[in-house]
């Protein structure tokens, strides 16, 4: 839940305990606890909630999602209504 925002790891303070690092949120910088993503490297993106990095962001997955959204549109544009109707019929027949 909850407000968590992506940020880029600028630096890691290896001597800190718990592990902390400086995160850049598009021009805003804040010291953040990295203890839960302790293998993160400078330049990677993490998702941060109340001062804690909760997870590393996976660029490959992000790009795959965006590509999927693009292709949704392409299928629409190429096949238009015919594709839409076919899809509806196919899905309709699968439903109970």
């Amino acid at each position: 839940m909850c407000l968590a925002v992506p940020g880029r790891v600028v630096s890691i303070d290896d001597t800190s305990d718990p592990l902390t690092g400086l995160i850049d949120f598009g021009g805003v910088r804040k010291q953040v606890c990295l203890e839960y993503v302790s293998d993160v490297e400078v330049g990677e993106y993490v998702i941060v909630h109340v001062g804690f990095a909760l997870q590393r962001l996976d660029e490959e997955s992000a790009l795959a999602s965006l590509k999927l959204f693009e292709e949704l549109g392409l299928l629409e544009e190429e096949f238009g209504d015919a594709w839409r109707q076919a899809a509806q019929q196919a899905e309709g027949s699968e439903a109970r």
């Binding site: 839940m1 909850c2 407000l3 968590a4 925002v5 992506p6 718990p18 598009g26 606890c33 203890e35 839960y36 993503v37 302790s38 993106y45 998702i47 909630h49 109340v50 001062g51 804690f52 909760l54 997870q55 962001l57 996976d58 660029e59 997955s61 992000a62 790009l63 795959a64 999602s65 965006l66 999927l68 959204f69 693009e70 949704l72 549109g73 629409e76 839409r84 899809a87 509806q88 899905e91 309709g92 699968e94 439903a95 109970r96």
Partner: protein, 375 residues
């Protein structure tokens, strides 16, 4: 890749919306159980862009709003003590207890401070050894690793003046409670992405199977929410009920094992009351035996506080999607954003507050119709 603007692209949003429209053949009621998602839906006006058949029910996903009255009253009593610095996330300050809120306690001389992170509260404890520093540890699974780390550090450092007032809640038991309630209308869930960033997805297949509902782990940007809806509606139209991950960039199937280990080190599962809803078995966390000394309820002996919530409003039914806010007799009369009866009228994302705003735009139509852009 900045992981923000890319997922707020109007053209891709239009494509997702087209796809949702093309797929939807009949009415479906989906619930998001996440204040952050509700916020994003309202902020971007996503609910008005969906086909009429797709209804979004804003579930009990705001940790601030579901924190029980009893716990808030305990917070108010502790915060009013002269030896205490009471630290809280900002949005807890305005939530009403029985007869006042934390703002009022501050107005009456209490040392109440807003912090960004529980570690900031820990710092305050180190800087003020003569004061008792209490952190109001509320939140869902997302916030638990942060609060767990703070108390873990306090124990390591032997800080005798730092405690947590814990009111943690867990999503899966809430979904279970919603699905087993009579007259439940929810047909699919958008699972909260950041809860799953921490906990992973292991708790959901059983829920999806037992109740026959699709559960789609969903992110927070507009495209993420639309994709969560697209996948849920797709499953419903095909008669499926699986757990899917529509937020793979931030959610791994096993979550964040280090964070889960810390939660287990510090907390234990307990029954928890949800404000406006009632007691849900196993739906919360409290500090375990090893951390009992860091539990504010024990240190300040507020265990005796018991509050009865008057059954005046029907927020619980609204949160479940059983009734519309306008079905409540108190709506807009005795209950307004200025004088809320229930949590759903307190925050701007609350279903009642949102209805109240949109109803002012053009009475007496339904919100979705009212919200269509003019021209």
């Amino acid at each position: 890749m900045r992981y923000l603007d890319e997922f707020n692209d109007p053209e891709l949003a239009r494509r997702l919306l087209d796809e949702i429209r093309a797929t939807t053949t009949r009415p479906w009621a989906l619930m998001e159980v996440c204040g952050g998602q509700t916020h994003s839906i309202i902020r971007h006006g996503i609910d008005q862009l969906l086909p009429d058949e797709v209804e979004l029910i804003h579930g009990p996903g705001c940790p601030v709003c579901v924190t029980p009255l009893e716990c808030i009253d305990k917070a108010l009593e502790i915060a009013a003590r002269p030896d205490v610095i009471f630290c809280s996330f900002g949005d807890m300050l305005r939530v009403p207890g029985t007869d006042r809120d934390l703002f009022r306690v501050r107005g009456e001389g209490g040392d109440v401070r807003v912090v960004y992170s529980p570690l900031d509260a820990l710092q305050l404890a180190r800087r003020h050894p003569d004061k008792q520093v209490v952190f109001f540890a509320i939140g869902f699974e997302t916030t638990a690793p942060a609060n767990a780390m703070a108390v873990h550090q306090a124990r390591r450092l032997g800080l005798a003046n730092f405690t947590l007032l814990v009111s943690h809640v867990r999503v899966p038991p809430a979904i279970e409670a919603i699905m087993t309630a009579p007259a439940c209308r929810v047909q699919g869930f958008l699972a909260a992405g950041h809860v799953c960033s921490v906990m992973g997805m292991a708790e959901y297949p059983e829920l999806a199977e037992r109740h026959g509902v699709p559960v789609v782990v969903t992110g927070f940007e507009p495209l993420d929410i639309l994709e969560g809806i697209r996948r849920t509606v797709g499953q419903l139209e095909r008669g499926e009920h699986r757990v899917e991950n529509a937020y793979a960039r931030a959610v791994r199937p096993d979550g964040n094992p280090a964070a889960i280990r810390m939660i287990e080190e510090v907390f234990e599962v307990t029954d928890r009351s949800w404000r406006g809803i009632g007691r849900i078995p196993g739906s919360g966390w409290r500090l375990n035996e090893a951390y009992r000394d860091f539990d504010a309820e024990h240190r300040f002996d507020v265990t005796g506080i018991r509050t009865e919530e008057p059954a005046e409003c029907r927020a619980g039914e609204v949160l479940q999607g059983l009734i519309k806010p306008t079905d409540c007799a108190a709506f807009g009369t005795t209950c307004t954003p200025r004088t809320p009866l229930g949590a759903t009228m307190v925050s701007s994302e609350g279903a009642c507050a949102a209805y109240h705003l949109y109803r002012r735009m053009s009475e007496p139509a339904r919100p979705r119709e009212e919200m269509n852009p003019v021209g």
